[in-house]
Protein backbone atom coordinates (compact mmCIF):
# COMPACT_ATOMS: atom_id res chain seq x y z
CA UNK A 1 0.00 0.00 0.00
CA UNK A 2 1.19 3.49 -0.79
CA UNK A 3 1.13 6.42 1.58
CA UNK A 4 -1.91 8.13 0.07
CA UNK A 5 -4.01 4.99 0.10
CA UNK A 6 -3.01 4.14 3.65
CA UNK A 7 -3.91 7.61 4.94
CA UNK A 8 -7.18 7.61 3.03
CA UNK A 9 -8.20 4.24 4.46
CA UNK A 10 -7.10 5.19 7.94
CA UNK A 11 -9.08 8.42 7.78
CA UNK A 12 -12.20 6.48 6.79
CA UNK A 13 -11.68 4.01 9.60
CA UNK A 14 -11.49 6.87 12.11
CA UNK A 15 -14.97 8.11 11.32
CA UNK A 16 -16.19 7.64 14.87
CA UNK A 17 -13.39 9.79 16.31
CA UNK A 18 -13.78 13.50 17.07
CA UNK A 19 -12.51 15.60 14.17
CA UNK A 20 -9.58 17.15 16.01
CA UNK A 21 -8.31 13.77 17.13
CA UNK A 22 -8.83 12.28 13.70
CA UNK A 23 -6.75 15.02 12.11
CA UNK A 24 -4.05 14.61 14.70
CA UNK A 25 -3.78 10.87 14.10
CA UNK A 26 -3.67 11.32 10.35
CA UNK A 27 -1.00 13.95 10.74
CA UNK A 28 1.01 11.66 13.01
CA UNK A 29 1.05 8.87 10.42
CA UNK A 30 1.65 11.23 7.54
CA UNK A 31 4.64 12.72 9.30
CA UNK A 32 5.91 9.30 10.30
CA UNK A 33 5.75 7.91 6.78
CA UNK A 34 7.34 11.04 5.32
CA UNK A 35 10.16 10.90 7.84
CA UNK A 36 10.70 7.24 7.01
CA UNK A 37 10.82 8.02 3.30
CA UNK A 38 13.25 10.89 3.90
CA UNK A 39 15.37 8.42 5.81
CA UNK A 40 15.51 6.18 2.74
CA UNK A 41 13.03 3.53 3.87
CA UNK A 42 10.89 1.72 1.34
CA UNK A 43 7.37 3.14 1.28
CA UNK A 44 5.41 -0.10 0.95
CA UNK A 45 7.60 -2.00 3.39
CA UNK A 46 7.29 0.72 5.99
CA UNK A 47 3.51 0.91 5.68
CA UNK A 48 3.36 -2.87 5.89
CA UNK A 49 5.27 -2.59 9.15
CA UNK A 50 2.66 -0.21 10.60
CA UNK A 51 0.24 -3.14 10.85
CA UNK A 52 -3.36 -3.44 9.76
CA UNK A 53 -5.59 -0.40 9.90
CA UNK A 54 -8.10 -2.38 11.96
CA UNK A 55 -5.53 -3.05 14.60
CA UNK A 56 -4.34 0.55 14.64
CA UNK A 57 -7.89 1.81 15.16
CA UNK A 58 -8.55 -0.73 17.89
CA UNK A 59 -5.46 0.35 19.82
CA UNK A 60 -6.42 3.99 19.42
CA UNK A 61 -9.95 3.36 20.68
CA UNK A 62 -8.70 1.64 23.81
CA UNK A 63 -6.40 4.50 24.52
CA UNK A 64 -8.72 7.37 23.81
CA UNK A 65 -10.77 6.07 26.73
CA UNK A 66 -7.70 6.21 28.91
CA UNK A 67 -6.84 9.74 27.83
CA UNK A 68 -10.43 10.79 28.49
CA UNK A 69 -10.25 9.36 31.99
CA UNK A 70 -7.03 11.13 32.79
CA UNK A 71 -8.47 14.42 31.58
CA UNK A 72 -11.55 13.98 33.72
CA UNK A 73 -9.42 13.19 36.72
CA UNK A 74 -7.38 16.32 36.14
CA UNK A 75 -10.51 18.44 35.98
CA UNK A 76 -11.68 16.84 39.19
CA UNK A 77 -8.41 17.63 40.94
CA UNK A 78 -8.53 21.17 39.65
CA UNK A 79 -12.07 21.54 40.93
CA UNK A 80 -11.06 20.24 44.35
CA UNK A 81 -8.21 22.72 44.59
CA UNK A 82 -10.58 25.48 43.55
CA UNK A 83 -13.16 24.43 46.15
CA UNK A 84 -10.50 24.40 48.81
CA UNK A 85 -9.43 27.91 47.81
CA UNK A 86 -13.00 29.14 47.99
CA UNK A 87 -13.46 27.56 51.42
CA UNK A 88 -10.36 29.22 52.80
CA UNK A 89 -11.37 32.57 51.31
CA UNK A 90 -14.87 32.16 52.78
CA UNK A 91 -13.46 31.47 56.23
CA UNK A 92 -11.16 34.47 56.03
CA UNK A 93 -14.05 36.73 55.04
CA UNK A 94 -16.23 35.44 57.87
CA UNK A 95 -13.53 35.79 60.48
CA UNK A 96 -12.87 39.29 59.15
CA UNK A 97 -16.55 40.19 59.41
CA UNK A 98 -16.73 38.76 62.93
CA UNK A 99 -13.70 40.70 64.13
CA UNK A 100 -15.05 43.88 62.57
CA UNK A 101 -18.47 43.39 64.18
CA UNK A 102 -17.05 42.83 67.64
CA UNK A 103 -14.68 45.75 67.18
CA UNK A 104 -17.60 48.06 66.34
CA UNK A 105 -19.79 46.61 69.07
CA UNK A 106 -17.17 47.04 71.75
CA UNK A 107 -16.28 50.47 70.42
CA UNK A 108 -19.86 51.69 70.61
CA UNK A 109 -20.29 50.17 74.08
CA UNK A 110 -17.25 52.01 75.40
CA UNK A 111 -18.44 55.21 73.71
CA UNK A 112 -21.86 54.80 75.36
CA UNK A 113 -20.55 53.99 78.83
CA UNK A 114 -18.04 56.84 78.60
CA UNK A 115 -20.81 59.33 77.69
CA UNK A 116 -23.06 58.22 80.54
CA UNK A 117 -20.28 58.32 83.15
CA UNK A 118 -19.11 61.76 81.99
CA UNK A 119 -22.62 63.17 82.13
CA UNK A 120 -23.22 61.80 85.65
CA UNK A 121 -19.91 63.15 86.90
CA UNK A 122 -20.62 66.55 85.35
CA UNK A 123 -24.11 66.60 86.95
CA UNK A 124 -22.80 65.66 90.40
CA UNK A 125 -20.05 68.28 90.21
CA UNK A 126 -22.46 71.06 89.23
CA UNK A 127 -25.14 70.09 91.79
CA UNK A 128 -23.25 71.97 94.53
CA UNK A 129 -23.06 75.02 92.29
CA UNK A 130 -26.82 74.85 91.67
CA UNK A 131 -27.89 72.98 88.59
CA UNK A 132 -30.00 74.95 86.19
CA UNK A 133 -33.04 73.33 84.49
CA UNK A 134 -31.50 73.59 81.07
CA UNK A 135 -28.25 72.06 82.28
CA UNK A 136 -30.14 69.19 83.92
CA UNK A 137 -32.05 68.56 80.71
CA UNK A 138 -28.80 68.69 78.76
CA UNK A 139 -27.13 66.11 80.95
CA UNK A 140 -30.19 63.85 81.11
CA UNK A 141 -30.46 64.03 77.34
CA UNK A 142 -26.81 63.24 77.04
CA UNK A 143 -27.20 60.22 79.31
CA UNK A 144 -30.21 59.05 77.31
CA UNK A 145 -28.34 59.29 73.99
CA UNK A 146 -25.33 57.39 75.30
CA UNK A 147 -27.52 54.83 76.99
CA UNK A 148 -29.20 54.32 73.62
CA UNK A 149 -25.84 53.83 71.91
CA UNK A 150 -24.76 51.42 74.67
CA UNK A 151 -27.97 49.39 74.34
CA UNK A 152 -27.58 49.36 70.56
CA UNK A 153 -24.00 48.13 70.86
CA UNK A 154 -24.91 45.42 73.37
CA UNK A 155 -27.77 44.24 71.19
CA UNK A 156 -25.44 44.26 68.19
CA UNK A 157 -22.84 42.13 69.97
CA UNK A 158 -25.59 39.84 71.23
CA UNK A 159 -26.93 39.45 67.72
CA UNK A 160 -23.53 38.71 66.25
CA UNK A 161 -22.69 36.14 68.92
CA UNK A 162 -26.11 34.50 68.62
CA UNK A 163 -25.87 34.23 64.86
CA UNK A 164 -22.29 33.15 64.48
CA UNK A 165 -23.42 29.58 64.04
CA UNK A 166 -26.27 29.98 61.59
CA UNK A 167 -26.29 33.33 59.86
CA UNK A 168 -22.59 33.45 59.16
CA UNK A 169 -22.59 29.89 57.94
CA UNK A 170 -25.35 30.94 55.55
CA UNK A 171 -23.35 33.98 54.50
CA UNK A 172 -20.36 31.75 53.96
CA UNK A 173 -22.39 29.46 51.75
CA UNK A 174 -23.65 32.41 49.78
CA UNK A 175 -20.10 33.63 49.27
CA UNK A 176 -19.04 30.15 48.23
CA UNK A 177 -21.86 29.97 45.73
CA UNK A 178 -20.94 33.34 44.35
CA UNK A 179 -17.32 32.30 43.83
CA UNK A 180 -18.33 29.01 42.29
CA UNK A 181 -20.49 30.84 39.80
CA UNK A 182 -17.58 33.15 39.12
CA UNK A 183 -15.34 30.12 38.68
CA UNK A 184 -17.55 28.63 36.00
Amino acid sequence: MRKREFLYRLDNALESFPNAEREEIIHYYEELIQDALDNGENEEAFIEKLGSIDKIVRTLKKDSDFVGNVKEKKNFELKQTFDKGVKILGRVLIIGALVLSIFFGVGFSIFGINGIVRSIIAMVMTISAQLSVSATLYYLGNIAVHLGILLFAITFIWYVVQNVGTKLELLYEKIEELFKKGGK
Partner: protein, 103 residues
Amino acid sequence: MDAQLKKGFLEILVLASLKFKASYGYKIIQDISQVFEISESTLYPILKRLEAQGLVTTYTEEHQSRLRRYYRITEEGRVKLSESQADFEEIKLIYQYILRKED
Protein backbone atom coordinates in the same frame (compact mmCIF):
# COMPACT_ATOMS: atom_id res chain seq x y z
CA MET B 1 9.57 -9.90 26.88
CA ASP B 2 6.22 -10.47 28.52
CA ALA B 3 3.60 -8.17 26.93
CA GLN B 4 2.24 -6.94 30.24
CA LEU B 5 5.70 -6.09 31.49
CA LYS B 6 6.54 -4.40 28.22
CA LYS B 7 3.55 -2.14 28.40
CA GLY B 8 4.65 -0.79 31.73
CA PHE B 9 8.08 -0.01 30.40
CA LEU B 10 7.06 1.76 27.23
CA GLU B 11 5.81 4.98 28.79
CA ILE B 12 8.91 5.47 30.84
CA LEU B 13 11.05 4.51 27.90
CA VAL B 14 9.48 7.15 25.68
CA LEU B 15 9.97 9.72 28.44
CA ALA B 16 13.59 8.67 28.72
CA SER B 17 14.08 9.20 24.99
CA LEU B 18 13.16 12.87 25.52
CA LYS B 19 15.47 13.26 28.48
CA PHE B 20 18.08 15.40 26.74
CA LYS B 21 16.32 16.75 23.69
CA ALA B 22 12.84 17.25 22.28
CA SER B 23 12.09 14.72 19.57
CA TYR B 24 9.51 13.59 17.01
CA GLY B 25 7.68 10.37 16.26
CA TYR B 26 10.00 8.70 13.79
CA LYS B 27 13.12 9.67 15.72
CA ILE B 28 11.71 8.46 19.04
CA ILE B 29 11.01 5.05 17.52
CA GLN B 30 14.48 4.84 16.04
CA ASP B 31 16.09 5.79 19.36
CA ILE B 32 14.07 3.38 21.44
CA SER B 33 14.42 0.55 18.95
CA GLN B 34 18.08 0.36 19.85
CA VAL B 35 17.18 -1.05 23.24
CA PHE B 36 13.57 -2.12 23.01
CA GLU B 37 11.13 -3.18 20.35
CA ILE B 38 8.41 -0.58 19.76
CA SER B 39 6.02 -0.26 16.85
CA GLU B 40 4.93 2.96 15.20
CA SER B 41 1.33 2.29 16.10
CA THR B 42 1.99 1.82 19.79
CA LEU B 43 3.98 5.01 20.07
CA TYR B 44 1.11 7.34 19.25
CA PRO B 45 -1.14 6.22 22.11
CA ILE B 46 1.80 6.38 24.50
CA LEU B 47 2.59 9.93 23.46
CA LYS B 48 -1.07 10.87 23.92
CA ARG B 49 -1.08 9.32 27.37
CA LEU B 50 2.07 11.16 28.37
CA GLU B 51 0.60 14.39 27.08
CA ALA B 52 -2.69 13.85 28.90
CA GLN B 53 -0.80 13.28 32.13
CA GLY B 54 1.20 16.45 31.62
CA LEU B 55 4.48 14.56 31.36
CA VAL B 56 5.25 15.89 27.88
CA THR B 57 4.21 18.96 25.90
CA THR B 58 4.10 19.28 22.15
CA TYR B 59 4.99 21.95 19.65
CA THR B 60 5.09 22.10 15.90
CA GLU B 61 8.07 23.17 13.87
CA GLU B 62 8.61 23.51 10.18
CA HIS B 63 10.92 20.96 8.67
CA GLN B 64 11.64 20.92 4.93
CA SER B 65 8.47 22.89 4.20
CA ARG B 66 6.23 20.55 6.15
CA LEU B 67 5.16 20.58 9.77
CA ARG B 68 6.67 18.23 12.25
CA ARG B 69 5.36 17.66 15.72
CA TYR B 70 7.90 17.68 18.51
CA TYR B 71 7.53 16.31 22.01
CA ARG B 72 9.29 17.82 24.97
CA ILE B 73 9.53 16.40 28.48
CA THR B 74 8.03 18.57 31.25
CA GLU B 75 9.24 19.03 34.82
CA GLU B 76 6.58 16.56 35.90
CA GLY B 77 7.93 14.17 33.32
CA ARG B 78 11.39 14.51 34.78
CA VAL B 79 10.06 13.77 38.23
CA LYS B 80 8.37 10.67 36.87
CA LEU B 81 11.59 9.64 35.23
CA SER B 82 13.57 10.01 38.43
CA GLU B 83 10.96 7.95 40.22
CA SER B 84 11.76 5.06 37.92
CA GLN B 85 15.13 4.91 39.64
CA ALA B 86 13.32 3.65 42.74
CA ASP B 87 11.38 1.20 40.56
CA PHE B 88 14.64 -0.09 39.21
CA GLU B 89 15.90 -0.90 42.70
CA GLU B 90 12.66 -2.69 43.43
CA ILE B 91 12.71 -4.64 40.18
CA LYS B 92 16.27 -5.67 40.88
CA LEU B 93 15.21 -7.12 44.23
CA ILE B 94 12.26 -8.87 42.63
CA TYR B 95 14.48 -10.50 40.04
CA GLN B 96 17.03 -11.50 42.61
CA TYR B 97 14.17 -13.32 44.30
CA ILE B 98 12.75 -14.81 41.10
CA LEU B 99 16.13 -16.08 39.95
CA ARG B 100 17.44 -17.16 43.34
CA LYS B 101 19.09 -20.54 43.62
CA GLU B 102 18.53 -23.09 46.28
CA ASP B 103 21.25 -23.06 48.85
